[in-house]
Amino acid sequence: MRRWTGIVLATLAVGATAMGAAAQTSSKAGPSAAAAPAKITIWVGWSARELKEFKGVVSEYDAKHSDVQVKVVGSINDTKITNAIRSGNPPDVVSSFTSANVGIYCGTGAWIDLAPFLKKDHISLSQFPKTSLYYTQFKGKRCALPLLADSYGLYYNKTLFAKAGIKAPPKTFSQLLADAKKLTQRSGNKLDVVGYDPFWGFYSGNVADMTNYAPLIAGKYLDSKGKSILSKQFAWSKLLRWQKSFVDYYGYDNLVRFQANADEFSASNLFERGKIAMLMDGEWRVAFLKAEHPELKYATAPMPVDDAHAGLYGAGSVNGTIIGIPKGGKNVDQAWALVKYLTTNNHALARFSNGIRNVPSTRSSAKSKELKPDPRFATFIKIFNNKSSLTAPITAAGNANLSLISQFTVKYQAGKVKNLHSALKTLDKQIDAQNAQAGGGGPP
């Protein structure tokens, strides 16, 4: 009996040891397998201070999600995104400042369709403003979501206004011109202070494709069939003539010389240095001014509008950063989870908006109590929500036809276009040809 008892005990002991060892092994293997986080990479266009803010938002996401590890890469532009997608080795998530290129990304399938993900997670698109929904899709295919938004308004230097005896910001183009003349200071031909610099191509506000002026003149680029109507709409030629006469007031060469040493995204920005009294710019300038020239006394207002459309006052140009998942990404589910968080989480949007002072891109985050109040920034939220605000047209050609317009406007402002109307007609033809080609064949 003792012998049998010994055998049973020995067997149990061996079994227990084996099971213990197995349990120990599995307790090691289990958590380590679960703990291996998926490494995902996100490419963004922000750099320097703004990139740091974005990394802060992502690090919060990282801390809350042990299953992923997010690597942020900044200073990315659309060429890099396209090349990465072509190479078959793209990052998991990409974002672009050039919302006009959504036509290419959605149209070609370079960014994958987000509709199935939105449906699966019951994400309602009604939480995004209508304009943002427009520039994140192409022909109904939604391959992007908005990640904060931009709107353009007027910044004005209160010190220079007081010196010139101007009490309120201008509301119409004629008031803008009159105030600009009062604010301008010259030494002979040399411009010391410019009231308002209308030069096409000068800083983001005066982007030469005229998109930021379109809502101020009720300008439309395309008709309902998608054909270019620049020559058919009087508003465009009126804007071009007004702008050229404004440039001529300063003198083309004088303005070029004045702008020659004035990087936009640094402390040498002419408005930040008090060299320009009024500037059309995006809401982000609020954060740049705080970081680079906190001593400047300034205020913000909507941009003045064409005298013939005074009712448009309060509207402005709107666009924003777009974010999506590139074709060929390896961790699509984790990528979607990150995109969803960045674009719909109120806290993430409010924190990022506070950091870089961009407009929150969902209706609920725009009302978040986390948003730091600032009346100068609030102006841009109002512009963004104005029903007459407009964004650039989205076409299959992406940014290419806006570039054609830019090439035209800078030529006109330099006095190289003799007959404006016939030149605009030629431009319409060129844009139509470009859109036709990008839409699928035929001559470019």
């Binding site: 200073s75 532009n77 659309d78 191509g201 070029v256 090439q407 800078v410 330099a414 064949g441």
Partner: protein
């Protein structure tokens, strides 16, 4: 019985077979030795050219598969592209102005250095040094120096009572500014000319002097004919480089425009100001990488290839009249 005549016939056949085997071995060896070059040529030259030629007949946006559109890209290039002819004109301007100036300037410096008695090493180093500067850095430096508002050149001109030009910011001055940059960096050409000038046999000069030739006549009738193959080489190289002129124009346009955005997206400013620095390769780059219109960019590149080949051929054929090779029999 052995047929003697059969043996007599088989010997030459065997000899012939042996020779042919040796010839094949020789050919095999040649092929083996040329193998690496052939592989490189096929992979990195022939295949890209053939593929590029195919793409030039397609609509290809880099993201979807190429779609065959026949000659549409070439038709658009010749009839509709508003930037094609300005780019061609700018490139021809560069060939007509920059290349001769570079050759003359480099030759002039080389002739002076060849005659220098003291500090030869120092002068050679000083004139060669700019060639070591990376093109991007050199261009950045020139845009800064020639800044119309704050650049030292215009400040000095201002002190002299001269209203300096807008340099890279002016459509009229942007290309001349690039020419100044090009002349500053002639170190490589200058060194080749210097070597050629120093290699001219002394006895030719002595003979010319005995015949009463002065310095200009010695240059005209001795130096130039002797170094003419080097001049031809420099001209051909200069023309090809001008046809491929890109980096300096790209950097100068973007920096001078002051419009590079935060993400470094500089593509909307190519050719600044007013397409004056839009050279043909810049146009190719713009269509390929800014507009994602690679099919059309491929068509532009094919035309460039053909033009570069034709221009080089014309120069080489024409050179028979003025290039002298020592020991060559006409």
């Amino acid at each position: 019985m052995i047929d003697a005549s059969a043996g007599a016939v088989s010997r030459p056949i065997a000899r012939r077979r042996g020779r042919s085997r040796a010839a094949w071995r020789r050919r095999g060896l040649v092929l083996l030795l040329m193998g690496p070059w052939l592989a490189g040529f096929t992979i990195f030259f022939a295949y890209p050219i053939v593929w590029n030629a195919y793409l030039s007949f397609t609509h290809y946006n880099l993201l979807s598969p190429p779609k065959w559109i026949g000659l549409a890209n070439y038709r658009y290039m010749l009839h509709d592209d508003p930037q094609m002819w300005p780019a061609v004109r700018n490139t021809l301007w560069l060939i007509a102005v920059l290349v001769p100036l570079q050759v003359v300037f480099a030759l002039g410096v080389a002739l002076m250095l060849a005659r220098a008695r003291a500090g030869v090493g120092v002068f050679r180093t000083i004139f060669y040094l700019p060639a070591l500067a990376p093109p991007v850095a050199a261009t950045l430096g020139f845009v800064y120096i020639l800044n119309p508002a704050t650049g030292p050149v215009n400040i000095i001109l201002g002190h002299l009572g001269i209203h300096g030009p807008l340099w890279f910011q002016s459509p009229a001055w942007a290309k001349p500014s690039l020419v100044i940059l090009g002349l500053w960096g002639i170190g490589n050409t200058m060194i080749i000319f210097l070597a050629a000038v120093l290699d001219v046999p002394r006895h030719l000069y002595e003979s010319a002097e005995l015949d009463g030739a002065g310095p200009f006549q010695r240059l005209r009738w001795v130096t130039l004919p002797t170094i003419s193959p080097v001049i031809l080489f420099s001209v051909v190289l200069g023309v090809i480089q001008a046809l491929q002129y890109f980096t300096q124009a790209y950097v100068a346009a973007n920096i001078a425009s002051g419009q590079a955005d935060q993400a470094g997206d500089t593509l909307n400013h190519l050719g600044y100001p007013l397409d004056s620095t839009l050279f043909y390769p810049v146009l190719i780059y713009q269509h390929g990488f800014a507009y994602f219109n690679m099919g059309y960019a491929a068509a532009l590149a094919m035309v460039l290839l053909v033009v570069a080949f034709a221009v080089t051929l014309v120069i080489v054929l024409n050179s028979r009249r003025w290039v002298h090779y020592s020991g060559a029999v006409r």
